[in-house]
């Protein structure tokens, strides 16, 4: 019982990261109807940028204070957003209206480019950050198994909750969110109402990248080590989360992220940690085969 509870906590922390990345996949799909294959790399860049900020702060003699963490978060968000914007401008916008295969290929090209670019500029070896703070909170002890949540885990969960709440508020309650959803449902009509659809698409990539940057920073906090390849696996898992939740559905992406995190945690704990990635990919295949619209996605009857 205690062991299972512990896996629940681990799974939720893991799932928070996947959910943040998955939102980027689902929003971009919602508005341009295509998968952003460079999104995993955007997450990887977010992680690198937070490490670089940390290294810079250390060089300046600043210790791992909450202020440094905030700096890592905001620097990473700002620059990663810029990369997200660039991906749209370079790989997608020039090909708007082209056959669907063309932007798909240019996005994969973008993904390969970004990986190599980080490898060249940052080196191929793993980068590590010492655990910024250690220790954990003992929640309770069930069946003599102490259930704990690490401070970093707690940080990850709290930050994710705040970011997701703010994001949900923006999409459902603000004028921008309304315009974003309008572009998603009927871009031509949105333009006829004075909405700048190109700008809205740019902002969608920017927001997706910002959320991926948060996820990247959370990964740095949790694992302490990154390298230029982490975007690939995390990207596929978050993509699976988005498909599981229903591609195009934002609540679906959050839910899918949590479920994938839980599956991975329980699979590792009870079956085999070596094959945890297989579990995720099997889910991807099964969902695509039996319920391509995902858990919260609806068949596209309403789209004209």
């Amino acid at each position: 019982m205690g062991y299972a509870l512990q896996q629940l906590i681990n799974g939720l922390t893991l799932g928070a990261t996947y959910g943040l990345i998955a939102i980027g996949y689902t929003m971009v799909y919602g508005i341009i109807g295509m998968i952003n294959f460079a999104h995993g790399e955007i997450y990887m860049i977010g992680a690198f940028l937070s490490v670089l900020t940390y290294v810079l702060c250390t060089a300046l003699g600043l210790g791992p204070t909450p202020l440094v963490l905030l700096a890592m978060l905001f620097v990473s968000i700002a620059f990663t957003a810029l990369y997200g914007w660039a991906v749209e401008r370079i790989a997608y916008r020039p090909l708007r209206g082209a056959p669907r295969l063309a932007p798909l290929i240019s996005a994969i090209g973008m993904s390969i480019f970004l990986q190599n670019y980080v490898q060249l500029t940052q080196g191929a070896r793993i980068k590590s950050v010492p655990p910024l703070w250690q220790g954990s909170l003992s929640l309770w002890s069930a069946d003599d198994f102490p259930v704990t949540i690490g401070w970093t885990q707690l940080t990850v969960v709290v930050v994710t909750l705040i970011v997701m709440t703010g994001f949900a508020w923006m999409i459902t309650r603000t004028a921008f969110g309304r315009q974003q959803r309008a572009c998603e449902q009927d871009p031509k009509m949105a333009a006829l109402l004075g909405i700048d659809v190109d700008r809205t698409i740019s902002l969608t990539f920017i927001i997706g990248a910002a959320l991926a940057a948060v996820a990247g920073m959370m990964a740095v906090l949790q694992y302490g080590v990154i390298d230029f390849t982490i975007g690939f696996i995390a990207g596929i898992k978050a993509f699976t989360a988005a498909v599981l939740g229903g591609i195009g559905s934002i609540p679906g992406a959050m839910l899918g992220g949590l479920l994938i995190g839980l599956v991975e945690a329980f699979w590792s704990a009870y079956l085999s940690p070596e094959y945890k990635d297989v579990a995720t990919f099997s889910i991807l295949v099964l969902v695509l085969l039996f319920r391509p619209t995902g858990l919260l996605g609806k068949p596209d009857v309403e789209k004209v």
């Binding site: 004028a175 309304r178 315009q179 959803r181 309008a182 449902q185 009927d186 031509k188 009509m189 949105a190 333009a191 006829l192 109402l193 004075g194 909405i195 700048d196 659809v197 309403e302 004209v304």
Partner: protein, 236 residues
């Protein structure tokens, strides 16, 4: 108010509008009639640059808008109620109306909401309902209300009576007349329902295969034997 000078438009190789000349003066109701596929809807959306006019000029209140992007044109006092209504089905009535206010960047929202609700009280009672669950007539009212939220000086209506029950059609036509007579709104109305449209219009144009083949006052077109044969007798 609005002037088209020799406007042509194409979909790829297909020509949809050929050298169209058309004028809408301030305070008028002008109607555009024509068979299915004549290019009426194309004319409406070409005004907004989709598709862009391949030749000719479009002037709105004396200014050349031919090359402006659609969302900029929409901010110049011209609003379209498109064919098929195109309300945002997954959003509430209220959200649809707020989206209509986009060109004003959120100014006068409360006043304009009140005006729209007094014009179409049913929209107020359905305020929180998803637009996709409204009846056809209610959706048409919402589409008109959404256009009015931007305080347009020129309102474009593309077949507002399409697929509606006779009673609802009467309401819609009455509203169009009231908007023009009482609020001084200039209106360009595309209709299949030629008889009713010509009755309320000051002037009309007949479009055939992308060309204007006839123009005249509403009454003159109603009496024109060619128009009667092609668009009135067959339809009713």
């Amino acid at each position: 108010m609005l002037e088209l000078q020799h406007v042509s438009a194409h979909y790829g190789p297909i020509q949809a509008l050929a050298e169209v000349d058309l004028v809408v003066r301030a305070g008028e109701i002008v109607t555009l009639i024509g068979a299915n596929g004549a290019g009426k809807s194309t004319l409406m959306t070409t005004l907004f640059g989709t598709p862009r006019a391949s030749s000719g000029r479009i002037l709105l209140e004396g200014e050349d808008i031919t090359a402006l992007p659609p969302h900029r044109i929409a901010r110049r006092g011209m609003a379209l109620v498109p064919e098929g209504r195109r309300v945002f089905a997954k959003m509430s009535v209220y959200e649809n109306l707020l989206l209509g206010a986009t060109p004003l960047d959120g100014a006068h929202v409360e006043e304009n909401l009140r005006r729209v609700f007094s014009l179409f009280p049913v929209l107020e009672t359905r305020r929180a309902q998803r637009a996709g669950t409204l009846s056809g007539g209610e959706q048409q009212m919402l589409a008109i209300g959404r256009a009015l939220m931007s305080e347009p000086r020129l309102l474009l209506l593309d077949e507002p009576s399409l697929g509606l029950a006779p009673l609802v059609i009467r309401t819609i036509f009455r509203t169009i007349v009231a908007l023009n007579r009482e609020h001084g709104l200039t209106i360009l109305l595309v209709e299949q329902n030629a008889r009713q449209a010509l009755k309320i219009a000051h002037r009309g144009y007949v479009l055939q295969n992308g060309r204007i083949v006839l123009e005249g006052s509403g009454a003159a077109l109603l009496a024109d034997p060619q128009v009667r044969a092609a668009y009135l007798d067959a339809a009713s």
